[in-house]
């Protein structure tokens, strides 16, 4: 493994230069002695070259989109256009302060205003707030909007959020954080919402229903009309988890099929980079009568001026970010939408769906696909056959996929499929890439039969072999000490 940066430390070595201080004020007169740090500040002392070599060495240990295919279900690891990175580095974007007078940031406000409307247009809502900084925070924001709506109507008894057992883990976690009681519904034998279970759970205390559509099995919830009728009949609101919106863009508008609130994952559907774990953006779109509950400020237009509008402060849920959300991330999504245009956005979902079905059909002979109707942008395979016949776990298969130069699919999710492998190719991958991946998966299926030990001991070709998770917990070592 690579050395730690701390191990490259040489006292007195420097990796920076700064201008000479040109004011005469001595530091001793500024900070009283009793407030001055006494603990040593043990940061590494290294040169710029040390730093560059070290982090480049680390970078070589990563899988990333430009290196290889990322069939990670629900994560939408599409290609992130390079032009976005170039354009957002204009000082006119990255060197502006959030509290500048508004007439000095008209370009920023115009882009935000336009994006609020473009996102709403794509999904069929009145407008979208750009303030939530992640999908999970978008869920939290949307649920707070639902809570505020019911409170505004005097319906304080509405305390329950329904969600299917195939939901992302963030759904119940966000519902809990926003103060709701969670009712989980079983899925039916087609992997969709069980209408009977829904009918049984529906009562006047239902505040809302959180649904991912297409759901986490990659299946379009075709009973959506009936679901939304049932939920609305008791005054509940329909929340769409937009994690899988990449399947619908330009094809179906969630705002027109019964959803009242939806979060978008701009780092999935709209091609902003994942960054190894963020920053993302979780914009939230709502129908017209819910706009007044969105976090403030929204960007509005008065004459030819764009303004940060705090008019709804009384009804708004408040703020989920000190400023206006992940502006830099939102800008990348904005550029992406403008480069796709109306035609491009339709081609995104079309190709995402074709690519997923293509892999599914080619692999269903080799891996169990429990729900094998035509899928949307992703599908869930299972390692059940391999487990039963050869004692090989899905985790083993995933690790063997790493050996073949691909990232592993999302595994053991959704929870309702045993040995799940959730595969999402995205629209940006070519048939050639998919064919090579399919072949690798077929090879692995054969290896399970012929050389099972190879699969059980995978990976062999990666920078490290399988890690000991238990040891990490048992002997917690969370930072370097020197």
């Amino acid at each position: 493994m690579a050395n730690l940066i701390f191990e490259m430390h040489a006292p007195g070595r420097k990796g920076y230069t700064l201008p000479k201080n040109d004011v005469p004020t001595p530091i001793a007169t500024c900070i009283p002695q009793n407030y001055s740090r006494t603990a040593p500040l043990r940061l590494p002392e290294v040169s710029e070259l040390d730093v560059m070599r070290h982090f480049i060495e680390l970078s070589q240990l990563n899988h990333f989109i430009e290196k290889g295919f990322y069939p990670l279900g629900s994560c939408t690891m599409k290609y992130n256009p390079k032009i976005n990175e170039t354009l957002v580095r204009n000082p006119g974007w990255n060197n502006i302060h959030p509290l500048q007078p508004q007439d000095t940031v008209q370009g920023a406000l115009e882009a935000m205003y336009d994006l609020q409307r473009d996102l709403a247009e794509i999904a069929g809502f009145a407008v979208a707030t750009l303030q939530p900084v992640a999908g999970a925070q978008g869920e939290f924001t949307g649920l707070k909007v639902i809570a505020a709506y019911h409170k505004h109507n005097g319906d304080t008894h509405k305390t329950k959020i329904l969600l299917p057992d195939s939901a992302h883990g963030t759904n119940p976690a966000s519902a809990f954080m926003s103060g709701f009681e969670i009712v989980e519904l079983p899925s039916n034998d087609k992997g969709m919402v069980d209408l009977e279970a829904l009918k049984a759970a529906i009562d006047e205390n239902v505040a809302g229903f959180m649904l991912t559509n297409p759901n986490t099995l990659g299946i379009f919830e075709s009973q959506i009309e009936e679901i939304s009728r049932l939920v609305h009949s008791v005054g509940g609101l329909m929340y769409m988890d937009g994690a899988n919106f990449n399947a619908l863009m330009g094809l179906v508008k969630p705002g027109e099929i019964g959803f009242d609130v939806m979060h978008y994952n701009l780092h999935k559907s709209f091609a902003t980079p994942h960054g190894g774990g963020g920053p993302g953006s979780g914009a939230v779109g709502v129908r017209e009568d819910l706009v007044k509950f969105l976090p403030y400020p929204m960007v509005t237009k008065e004459g030819s001026q764009y303004v940060l509008c705090n008019n709804d402060q009384e009804t708004s849920i408040g703020k989920v970010h000190a400023f206006y959300g992940n502006f830099g991330v939102n800008l990348r999504a904005y550029i992406y939408i403008k480069m796709q245009g109306a035609d491009g956005i339709m081609r995104v979902s079309r190709n995402a769906i074709i690519n997923a079905n293509y892999i599914m059909r080619k692999l269903e002979k080799y891996y169990h696909v429990p729900f094998n109707d035509n899928c949307m942008h992703e599908f869930v395979a299972s390692g059940e056959w391999q487990k039963e016949k050869y004692g090989i776990k899905t985790l083993d298969i995933a690790k063997r996929i790493l050996d073949k130069g691909y990232h592993a699919p999302t595994i053991y999710f959704p929870l309702i499929v045993h040995e799940a492998m959730m595969i999402e190719p995205t629209e940006t991958e070519s048939k050639e890439t998919l064919d090579a991946f399919i072949q690798a998966m077929i090879d692995i299926a054969k290896e399970c039969e012929e050389t099972p030990e190879l699969v059980k001991n995978a990976p062999q070709n990666t920078p490290i072999r399988r890690v000991d998770d238990t040891l990490a917990v048992r002997q917690l070592n969370l930072h370097y000490t020197w």
Partner: protein, 445 residues
């Protein structure tokens, strides 16, 4: 078509392989009436050259080169060029969250290094991989204290950034937490009022130092008050740059330390993306929100790094998780990691000292002007509040025409005729003197 690889022919070939004649057949599970065959009303696609012109024209409408004294949580510190070169590396930029440790050691190791650097800086025993920003880090720290202590009263010192307070309120109200705000006195928390508010129901006290007004709080005194109660946890929000010269929170026995990390190597970006750092005493590790990386061994006995203690997190615990968070704004903490390594102890100290001395030089000059005075006589770091002879909004407006952002008008935060002025090491004496002259002129004129 942008960023789509398959040709029309290939798409048709793949449809055939799927056993369907057309794309419409493939999506037959979607009720027909829901499908839009018309284009939505987005603009026509921009080419790369056209979007470049459009974005650069929009950017030109933003004033990015003024002599700015804006702060209030977002600061314009110097960023060495090497930081951005690292952010542009696709190995870090386009990688996913490092769940597959065997192909993510690069990200995992730098997170481990980042956690180590944050522990050193704050003087704390553990740190997580990062939060969304300083505001949500404060809110999550309070929720963590509520979980740990099983108490529901959370005290927030009124000198905490009011923008953070708004986020804290939204985050905590759903969980039955009572937020009690303690008023300030002479620019710092009123310790008598704080002492009176702390009781057996108290889960935590949140103190920010330097506080919203730039003043350094007496954290040692506040700590004694907090820990006089049986269980209450002492949460401190800090400016990471300040820790090069001010006491590390570990020195005054803080339980949880959070803060906005933007000033460590991240651009201002109109206020986002940001990242929050989150550190604590080791005994609190299982109550922490967010990702944590630990060292372990691989099957060959090699040192490796892995996301650990995942049983706290939403993808395992769902509704019972410590938080719904599943982002760590990792690229922002990469910038911070590279920044801290480049600057080292000497660089960070120099940044802090230059910011402080320049701020004090400026404060002295302004306080000597007719009509202006320091809003309090507390010790301060790189930011300070002044009282103004005219409404601060008017001064901001007049100075804007001279290409100066004079500071943050505190009227919307309940302090009329007050201006909050931030200074970083990037300011030259000429910049500072220009503000002084303009402030003098606006009073005379």
């Amino acid at each position: 078509m942008p960023f789509i690889s398959n040709t029309e022919e290939q798409q048709q070939e793949m449809l055939t392989a799927c056993g369907v004649k057309s794309f419409d057949e493939l999506i037959s599970t979607i009720p027909k009436k829901f499908i839009h065959h018309d284009r939505c009303s987005l603009e026509d696609a921009y080419s790369e050259l056209e979007i470049t012109r459009k974005m650069n024209a929009l950017a030109a409408k933003n004033a990015a080169d003024f002599n700015s004294f804006l702060g209030a949580g977002i600061y314009d510190h110097f960023i060495p060029a090497a930081v951005d070169h690292m952010l542009l590396r696709p190995e870090f930029l386009t990688a996913y969250t490092p769940y597959q440790a065997e192909v993510s050691q690069g990200t995992l190791q730098y997170i481990y290094e980042y956690q180590s650097l944050i522990c050193e800086l704050t003087g704390m025993e553990i740190a997580n991989a990062g939060m969304y920003d300083g505001a949500t880090a404060c809110a999550e720290a309070i929720l963590m204290a509520v979980r740990k202590t099983r108490k529901t009263k959370a005290i927030v010192c009124g000198s905490v950034n009011p923008l953070y307070l708004r986020v804290i309120q939204v985050y905590t109200e759903g969980q039955g937490v009572e937020i009690v705000v303690i008023p300030s006195k002479n620019g710092v928390v009123d310790t008598d009022a704080l002492a009176a508010a702390i009781d057996d129901k108290t889960a935590s006290v949140l103190l920010q130092t330097p506080n919203f007004f730039g003043n350094i709080e007496n954290a040692f005194a506040v700590e004694k008050l907090v820990h006089a109660s049986k269980k209450a946890l002492f949460i401190v929000a800090v400016d990471p740059i300040s820790l090069a010269v001010l006491n590390a929170p570990g020195e005054y026995n803080a339980d949880i330390v959070v803060g906005e990390g933007q000033s460590l190597g991240n651009s201002m970006n109109f206020g986002g993306p940001l990242f929050g750092f989150f550190a604590a005493k080791a005994s609190l590790v299982r109550n922490m929100p967010g990702r944590i990386v630990g060292a372990t061994l691989d099957a060959d006995g090699k040192t490796s790094y892995v996301l650990t203690l995942q049983a706290r997190e939403q993808h395992i615990r769902r509704g019972k998780a410590t938080s719904n968070i599943c982002s760590s704004d990792q690229l922002c903490s990469l910038a911070a990691t590279v920044y801290m390594c480049l600057m080292g102890p000497a660089g960070l100290k120099e940044v802090a000292e230059q910011s402080t001395t320049k701020a004090h030089y400026l404060a002295g000059k302004i306080a000597a002007l007719d009509g202006y005075a320091m809003a309090s006589d507390q010790p301060f770091f790189k930011e300070f509040a002044i009282t103004t002879p005219r409404p601060a909004a008017e001064i901001v407006e007049v100075l804007k025409d001279k290409k100066i952002f004079a500071g943050v008008d505190l009227a919307p935060f309940g302090n009329p005729d007050m201006l909050l002025i931030a200074v970083t090491e990037k300011k030259t004496r000429t910049d500072l003197d220009a503000l002084v002259a303009a402030l003098q002129e606006v009073n005379n004129g």
